[in-house]
């Protein structure tokens, strides 16, 4: 017969939900002849019964009744209004090209004066600021930040330490 200590993890798993068929057979065979493990199973079932949330209330069921429609509407709204970073980058690039062309044309002209009749373009050019690559990057990053949550987010350091400390304390008990 399998030792009780080897089966303790299986007992807890069984109390929380179905097991694989092979594990179910193994555990059932042991439980049939072991009163102590049957008591363990009952204790875990009581624990998980207390830890579980009550079934969804009427209010909760009503709240999600139109969820599918709401989600689809939000996706559509997002597609229609969400600014993409690509047009922004292309826009900046086009504006930079025009500004460069203006500067080149002004400098190669007959008069260096910017106060005369041809000064308008030069004033425009002097007012132009080079696009800040960092700002562009921030736009792109902001665009993708919302999705970053979906990535395989690693445990942060504090949580790793908490997990490790808890595991160590558990093993020392």
């Amino acid at each position: 017969m399998t030792a009780c200590t080897q089966l303790d993890p299986l007992i807890a798993q069984r109390a929380s939900g179905p097991l694989d068929p092979a594990d179910t057979l193994r555990l059932d065979a042991h439980l049939a002849g072991c009163e102590r493990c049957r008591a363990e199973l009952a204790a875990y079932e009581q624990t998980f019964g207390l830890a579980r949330l009550p079934p969804p209330s009427e209010a909760e069921r009503a709240a999600i009744a139109q969820l599918a429609v709401r989600v689809r509407a939000e996706l559509r709204r997002g597609r229609a209004t969400k600014p993409s970073w690509r047009p922004l980058v292309l826009g900046f690039a086009a504006a930079a090209a025009v500004a460069l062309a203006v500067v080149v044309a002004t400098r190669s002209g007959p008069s260096p004066s910017t106060t005369g009749g041809g000064g308008g373009a030069a004033v425009t050019a002097s007012a132009w600021q080079e696009p800040d690559p960092e700002a562009l990057l921030r736009v792109v990053e902001r665009e993708h930040a919302e999705l970053a949550i979906a990535s395989e987010e690693p445990l942060d350091r504090a949580e790793l330490i908490a997990d490790a400390a808890w595991g160590k304390a558990f093993e020392e008990e």
């Binding site: 204790a43 830890a51 209330s57 599918a68 939000e74 999705l147 979906a150």
Partner: protein
Amino acid sequence: MTDEVTDDDALVQSFLDGDDAAFEELVRRNEALVLRLVRRYARDPDDARDLAQKTFVRAFEAARPAFLRPFGERAPFRRWLVRIALNLSRNHARDAGRWTRASHSDTDGLADAQPHCGQGPLAGLLDAERSARLRRAVLRLPRRQREVISLRLDAELPFSEIAGALGITENAAKVSFHHAAKRLRELVSAATDREE
């Protein structure tokens, strides 16, 4: 991979091909799962609905590029849903500086406290109090243990799927579960001893 998961992915593909009804079907099939995951962290039913809605929208936006790629492996859509539901719920509770369901669960517990057969009203209230305390304890578990317990007790997922959702091995999921289960059981035992 189960047929259910494969069907979900087919629905995502149909939606990307222009079939709007497919996405509604996808939401209907998975809304109970998502609700079960987020409600532990939600303040009230509307809060839970908003979290569930955000979960679906972000899961779709996150999974879309993978589904549009003609080649290469991709995670099943349901895995995106579970992962994002857990992350959003955790951030929601943390940002608001509250583990709201735990505090509200005191009143949930009292409202649900129906004396069992042969059990007096006082015993029912004691159970409700113990339940509220234990739900708070679940939220205070280390992150990995909390996620595994939540996926097992709330979402009722098999360990193979829990492992896939968390990007860990099935054995690691079971070890985390075991640590959490022992911890919760100790709390129940200690509370029972105090009451006796």
